[in-house]
Subunit: 469 residues, 2 copies
C-alpha cells in the first residue's frame, strides 16, 4: 500500500505540547463557527526537514511529513502528554473556484457532503461521528474547504475511516438539495441583520481582485441555480488529492497513521489543482447606506505575504496597532476617546499577497471622528515606533506562540497552513528567534518599504463619511 | 504572613494536563469576548479533599486549595507538561448587585478598574500587563466580576502582583469616567444592530426573577447617572475577600504561590458578601416587533442546578437535544427541514436554580414552523430517549471532558466554578463515572420529575408568532 513510504518520509522535531477546545459543560453556547482560511492555490508540495529541538527540559515532539505519489500530503505532530488528537483536512476547493453562475456552490457542497457517504446514510454518518465524541466543523474558506475534528486520540483512526468516505465517497443525495439550499439562502440573508459581519465581507469584496474577495455565502442567484448534478460535478472537479493537506496533532503514532492514510487515500486519483484567473480589483471605497443604530467601519491596505522576508516585521507592525490593551488603536480610539467599543486590526494572508484589515464599530454621531482617528493611527505608523512598543509586541507574540504549541487543534491547523503557504513546517525556535529579533528599526524600515496607504474604506450606516487623509 | 497555611491547606490530586487559547497568528480576528458567568451568592466557603487519581499512565496533577481567614479562597492545579498558566478571579460583584438607579455600574467599574492602580497610571498598567504577554479579559457576569488572564507560567507571579493592585488599589480616576460611560452606552446601543444577542438578553430578563435576569450592560439612565463617587462606593461595597475565589492552573508550584497570594491578599479586609432579594418573575412570553430580515426565537424552561442529584441527567437530556450534529434539534429543525441555519439548546445554572435556553434564527416566512417544531421537540423529550442517543451523549461529554482537562484556561475556570457552585472541586473520575452511568431510563426519569414546560418564549422580528403547545 505505502511503497516507498520510509524513503520519502521526513522526520522533523519541535518542542511542544497539548490542547483545549469548545466547552460542552460551559454555560455559554453559540452556533457553529465557520472559520475562514484565506489562502492561495498550491501546485508544488515541497518537502523539508527541521532541525531537532529540545527545550527547557520539555519532551520534544515529532513532526512527520509524507507526500503520497497522488499529491496528498500528510503531516503529523506527536504530542505525548495529551490524550486528545485533532485532524485538519485542507482540500483546494475554496469559494474562489465557484463558477460565476453558481456562486455559493462550495458552501452547499460542504453541507451536502456529510449527508451520507460510503455505506452510511445521512443520519448514520452524523451518529457515527458523534459516537466518536468528535467535535467537528466543515467550512469553506477562500482557497480551501476545510474539515476539522478533535476527539480522544484513540478514536482518531475510526474518525479517519469515516472522513475517507466523506471526502471520497459522498452520496450527495438529490433529496437533500432543497433543505441545504434553503439553509444557504438563510445564511446569506442573515447578514442583513448582522452589520458587523457584513462590513468585513463587503470590505473584502472591494479590496481584492475577484474572485479572491468572494464570500463563501455566494449570491441568491448562484444558490437558486444549483441542482444535484451541478453540485456533483463541482465535487468531481475539485475534490482530488493534488494539493490536499491532511494534518494531525496529538497523542498519535506516525507509522500506523501513515499506513492507515496510505490505505484510505493512497489510491485516490484526480486531476490537477484548479487554476485561478484574477480580474480587476473593483472600485475601492464605498459607503453602504443602512438605517442602523451604529456605524460600521472597515479599512484594508496591502501588506507582505507570509513567505516574504518582511513577514515578521509586518506582523509586528500590526501588533503595534492592535496586539494588546496598550496597543495604539485600543489606546487612542477606545481608551482615551471612548470612540468605539470594539476596534482592532489583523493581518490576513494569501500565498501571493496579504492585507491588514481594521474594524471599528461606533455611534453614528462619532463615526467621522472614529474614522479620522483610526486613519491617522494607520498613516502615522511609519513615522516611528518606540522600543517599549516592540518589547510589548515580542512578549505578546511569544506568549501566544507557546500557548498555541499546547493545543492539538492549533498545532493541526498550523501544520497544514505552514505547509500550504511555505511548503514546510516552521519550528518553534525559528518563529521564536524571528520574534526575538524584532526591533523598532526593522518595523519602521519595513513600513517605509510598505507603508499603510491606498486604503480601501467601506462604511455602513445612515450617514456617508469623508475619507480625510 | 500565612500562619496556619500548612494546617489548613488541602491537597487534592486529579489526572490532567495543558492549554490552548486565542490565536494572534491566525487570520481571523474578533473583538474582546465577554464571557458571562451566571452564578449565585456564596456565603460559606466549604473545604474538601478529593481522592488521589492516577490514570492511563498519565502524570497526576495536583489540585490544592486554601481559604484564608479573610474568606478569599485560592485554588491551584499543577499541570507540569505545559509552559503556560491561567488565572481566574471571581469577585462577588456581578451585575445582579447593581442598584436599580445605577444599572450598568458593575460594567463601568470593570472598565475603570484597569485604568490605573497601585503606583501605575492607566497607560503604565496596560503596558505592564501586555509586557508579561498576558492574554486577558475583565468581564461582568450575573454574580461575579471576573478577571481572566493566561501567559507563560514564569510570568504568573509578576501578573499576580499587578492584579493585587487592580483588585485592591485601583485609582478609579475622575477623568476616565466620561470615556468609560460613552463606551458602556455604545455597548448597550449596539445591541439594536445585533438581534441574535438581543434576543438572549431579552429572554433572560423575562425568564428569571429580577435581578437574576439583569444584563451587565445596564440601562441608559443607569449609565448616565454614574459619577466617579458612585463607582467608587460600588467598588468599596463589593470588592472584598469574602466569597472571592482565585484559581490558577498550569505549570506552577503550590507553596510559593500560596505564600505570594498570602502576602498580596492575606491582609485584605472587607465586609460580608452582599445579599440579594429576588422580585417577582416578570410577565413571560412576548413578541418584540422589529423590522428585521430574520426572526429570532428564544425559549427557556426550568432545570435542576449543578448541585442537584439529577444534574448529570439534566445535562444529558440537553445533549440529546443539542450535543452534536445528530442531536434532535439539529436533525429535526436544521437538517431535515432546512428551517434555520442556527439552532441550539444549552444548560445554564445559578446556585439555586437552572434553565435550559434554546435559540433559533430563521426566515420570517418559516418562523412559525420553526417555533412549532422546536417546541414539539422540547415537549416530546420526556416521552422517551433511545439508547443510541445516550451513547452519543456519553461519547461527546467524555471527549469534551478530556479536552478541557488539557487546557490551563479551562481548568482554571472549572476550579473556580466548581468551588463556587459546589464548595469543592470535582475529580476527573467523579465526572467520568457520572457520565458513564447515564442511561435512557435515568434521563427519562429525570424528565418525568422535571419536564420541559412553562416555557418563556421571546421572539423578535416583523411578525408576531403563536405559541402552539
Amino acid at each position: 500500500m505505502c511503497e516507498g513510504v520510509e524513503k520519502r518520509s521526513f522526520l522533523t522535531v519541535t518542542a511542544t505540547k497539548t490542547s483545549g477546545k469548545k466547552d460542552r459543560f460551559s454555560n455559554c453556547s453559540g452556533d457553529v463557527k465557520r472559520i475562514e482560511v484565506p489562502s492561495f492555490s498550491s501546485r508544488d508540495a515541497l518537502r523539508s526537514t527541521i532541525p531537532d529541538i529540545q527545550k527547557d527540559g520539555y519532551v520534544a515532539q515529532a513532526v512527520n511529513q509524507y507526500t503520497f505519489p497522488n499529491g496528498l500530503t500528510l503531516l503529523a505532530e506527536r504530542m505525548e502528554h495529551v490524550r486528545s488528537a485533532a485532524l485538519n483536512f485542507l482540500i483546494p476547493a475554496g469559494c474562489v473556484y465557484d463558477p460565476p453562475e453558481h456562486r455559493g456552490v462550495a458552501s452547499v457542497l460542504a453541507d451536502m457532503i456529510t449527508r451520507g457517504a460510503g455505506n452510511r446514510d445521512s443520519r448514520e454518518l452524523s451518529l457515527a461521528l458523534d459516537n466518536l465524541g468528535l467535535d467537528r466543523d466543515e467550512s469553506v474558506g477562500s482557497m480551501h474547504t476545510r474539515f476539522w475534528g478533535a476527539t480522544l486520540a484513540r478514536n482518531l483512526p475510526a474518525a479517519l475511516e469515516i472522513y475517507a468516505d466523506i471526502v471520497r465517497r459522498p452520496h450527495l443525495p438529490d433529496e437533500e438539495i432543497d433543505p441545504v439550499k434553503a439553509l444557504a439562502l438563510q445564511d446569506l440573508q442573515s447578514l442583513e441583520d448582522e452589520p458587523r459581519q457584513k462590513i468585513l465581507i463587503e470590505l473584502r469584496q472591494r479590496h481584492y481582485p475577484p474572485p479572491l474577495g468572494q464570500d463563501r455565502r455566494g449570491t441568491p442567484q448562484g444558490i437558486e441555480s444549483l441542482t444535484p448534478s451541478v453540485v456533483r460535478s463541482h465535487y468531481e472537479r475539485l475534490f482530488q488529492p493534488m494539493g490536499t493537506i491532511l494534518s494531525v496533532a496529538g497523542n498519535i503514532e506516525w507509522q500506523p497513521l501513515l499506513e492507515q492514510v496510505g490505505r484510505l487515500f493512497g489510491d485516490w486519483q484526480g486531476g490537477s489543482e484548479p487554476s485561478l484567473k484574477l480580474g480587476q480589483a473593483p472600485a475601492k471605497s464605498e459607503h453602504l447606506p443602512k438605517d442602523t443604530t451604529q456605524t460600521q467601519i472597515g479599512i484594508a491596505y496591502g501588506s507582505v505575504p507570509i513567505n516574504h522576508a518582511d513577514y515578521y516585521a509586518a506582523l509586528g507592525a500590526v501588533n503595534v496597532l492592535s496586539g494588546g490593551m496598550s496597543a495604539r488603536l485600543f489606546t487612542e480610539v477606545r481608551e482615551k476617546r471612548g470612540l468605539c467599543y470594539s476596534v482592532w486590526a489583523s493581518y490576513q494572508t494569501f500565498k501571493d499577497r496579504a492585507s491588514v484589515v481594521c474594524y471599528a464599530g461606533t455611534t453614528n454621531e462619532r463615526a467621522q471622528e472614529t474614522l479620522d482617528v483610526t486613519l491617522k493611527e494607520l498613516t502615522r505608523l511609519s513615522d516611528g515606533i518606540e522600543e517599549e512598543e516592540v518589547e510589548r509586541v515580542r512578549a505578546g507574540l511569544k506568549s501566544s506562540l507557546i500557548m498555541q504549541e499546547e493545543s492539538t487543534s492549533s498545532r493541526a491547523g498550523t501544520l497544514a497552513s505552514d505547509w500550504y503557504y511555505l511548503g514546510r513546517v516552521r519550528s518553534f525556535d525559528e518563529i521564536q528567534s524571528a520574534i526575538n529579533s524584532l526591533t523598532p528599526e526593522k518595523l519602521v524600515s519595513h513600513l517605509k518599504r510598505c507603508p499603510p496607504r491606498d486604503f480601501t474604506v467601506v462604511t455602513l450606516g445612515p450617514k456617508d463619511l469623508r475619507i480625510n487623509l
